[in-house]
Amino acid sequence: MKSGEEKILLSHGNGGKIMHSLIGELFLRHFSNPILNEQTDAAILATGGDEIAFTTDSFVIDPIFFPGGNIGKLSVCGTVNDLAVAGASPLYLSVSFILEEGLPIKELEAIVVALAEEAKEAGITIVTGDTKVVHKGKCDKIFINTAGIGSVRKEDRHIGKGQHIRPGDIIIINGTIGDHGMAVMGARESFHFKTSVISDCASLNHLIREVLDNSNGVKFMRDPTRGGVATVLNELAEKTCLGIEIDEPALPVSPGVTAICELLGFDPLHIANEGKVIIVATPEAAESILETMKRNKLGLHSAIIGRVVTDHPGKVVLNNETGGRRIVDSLTGDPLPRIC
């Protein structure tokens, strides 16, 4: 297939020759591995003796290319991270594309390449997939669904649930917040600022594995994607009926993100991340976990940002830089820019 000016046609999804050439020349070329190459209707997978973690996520991001990644890379990171924060080691991935008629094949290839590279980086194998093409206007360029399977050790099973969280536990994050949401907003055509902000989009499974292998003090993990850090912490406070206290000066926020948030009236705590994990750990283990995280390139700016407390159960309170305190609420609806 020559990928110069060619575009996706409805016939790329019709099950016939053209579709098979797309699968063979684009998807299999980049995703090739023994399981996928079998091209069976269902992949047969070996999982060892551990329990299985299974998750799925759909990606409809606009724009499909943004500083720091594209929808292909994101569709691996998102699912890998959902597995990793449940304490699982990602093993297998399914990838389904819904393509809009007219999508340039060159763009599809760039997305497929990024997807393949990220899967390799994360060590997850793409074992099955699907492609559909819809009429122009029936989807926005490309939608991707991925589902992931991972294996979980018995001792890590509690991590996704957080039932061992106690007052005094420490809250750690692996770096700056709000980068993904602001990078995507900056990449939208209607947004006339040029920003240096780059999405943090990354697979966190290796960093998380290093943490779990070096410490048994992890009580809970969650990736603060849509709704941001504020939403994850509020869910946690509600679920545990405990309070959460965070320290504004300790929150890592890049100058670029701070600047856009100041301009538009957003709170970085509400902005999406795609390469961040919030870890709740025992006070004894917190420092050594922080050290382990800082040794990974995705955790260089890791920081302790707060703690679990018995006060104000169900609520997240922020100690601000000026000595005041305020409640941090979950996000309501989409963050909208303020008028003035």
Binding site: H192, R326, D329, L336, C340
Partner: protein, 359 residues
């Protein structure tokens, strides 16, 4: 962050708070008339730093909150005209009208788009010659010059498909109306960005006739604390006047270019304020010579006069007569996720701010 961090220094804030405690003797009530100020006061927890005799009231300064329900109903009626694209600043889309909101109409398939600048709307009109683009003009002297500039730009470009519904308002008449109504205020914290455009003279009457201090303040906690200190000093000394705290941005004469653009396109009119009714000379209407860009003249659509939502006390809150906690709907029936009154909708609305930062 430069130009922000300096004005959030804890030591500076506490030093001003100490001075305030030393100087302030008499009970004093100050009103801020800008949503940005309301946000800053609560976000930085300033009330806890003030002496107990210094009370802050939130006035009608959030442009989304003071936009009348009639205006929202009108915008909803316009969005249903075939071929129309409605453009708006973000937080207006959730404001409830009589039976719907722009957000709900968007979900119904109407073409409603959020813009960051009114000039995007002009661009949209240029690139969609077969569509009619209507911009919802809201805001005070801060955003109105940009709308005026957009109308001039559309005229220059010869566009015949760009329109504005103007609900733009000016600040001083509502401040005077509150004083005339007898709301107990001893001084105003005036919004810095309004005066960046208008200068300071717009408040002279308040100082000379009403004998009230007006301090034009910036939006960081040090700015706010210093402005409060300046007002308290004026009050203690009995010397009400118009002063500028936000000197790094505001000059007495304001931005003459913006003033000229504003005056070329708009003239004053009596205008509706949510919860406050009609205030004489408080709104900005598009001048006759630019009527080709006035959506209300072009489309000639009217909507019935809406009734205020039952139980909602937005009017009293905007007047500073009541606080959100005194409203029976606050945080029960009326929440940011499902607002009844406009004060709960905008991130800068008094109720939304109280809800968000309540502790």
């Amino acid at each position: 962050m430069k130009y922000v961090g300096e004005y959030r220094k804890k030591e500076l804030i506490l030093a001003v708070a100490e001075e305030l405690k030393r100087v302030s003797k008499k009970d004093i009530t100050l009103m801020e008339v800008c949503g940005g100020h309301t946000m800053a006061i609560h976000r930085f927890g300033l009330p806890a730093l003030l002496p107990p005799n210094v009370k802050l009231l939130s006035g009608p300064g959030c442009p989304v909150c003071v936009s009348s329900q009639y205006f929202i109903d009108l915008a909803i009626a316009f969005c249903k005209v075939p071929g129309v694209i409605i453009t708006t600043y973000g937080d207006l889309i959730r404001v409830p009208g009589s039976g719907s909101s722009l957000e709900k109409e968007k979900a119904n398939g109407e073409d409603i788009r959020i813009v960051y600048s009114v000039l995007e709307s002009v661009e949209l009109a240029r690139s969609n010659p077969d569509r009619k683009v209507i911009f919802l003009g809201i805001g005070f002297e801060t955003t109105a010059p940009a709308t005026a500039a957009a109308i001039l730009e559309a005229k220059k470009a010869g566009l015949t498909n760009f329109f504005v519904i103007s609900a733009h308002k000016v600040m001083p008449p509502v401040m005077k109306a509150l004083v005339a109504e007898g709301v107990k205020i001893d001084g105003f914290l005036a919004p810095g960005h309004v005066s960046a455009i208008t200068g300071t003279a717009i408040y002279n009457d308040l100082a000379t006739v009403c004998k009230l201090g007006v301090v034009i303040a910036g939006f960081e906690p040090v700015d706010m604390m210093q402005a409060i200190l300046m007002l308290v000093k004026q009050f203690e000394e009995g010397t009400p006047k118009v002063e500028i705290q936000y000197q790094r941005v505001v000059h007495h004469e304001g931005n003459k270019i913006a003033q000229a653009v504003l005056d070329e396109v708009f003239e004053l009119q009596d205008d509706r304020w949510r919860g406050l009714g009609v205030i004489p000379g408080s709104g900005l209407k598009i001048r006759e010579q630019f009527s080709a860009f006035d959506a209300e003249k072009h489309f000639r659509i009217t909507v019935p006069e809406p009734a205020d939502p039952a139980g909602c006390i937005c009017g009293s809150i905007l007047r500073g007569l009541k606080t959100p906690e005194q409203c029976g709907l606050f945080a029960t029936t009326c929440t940011p996720a499902d607002p009844v009154g406009a004060c709960m909708v905008s991130g800068e609305g008094t109720c939304a701010t109280y809800y968000k930062y309540r502790s």
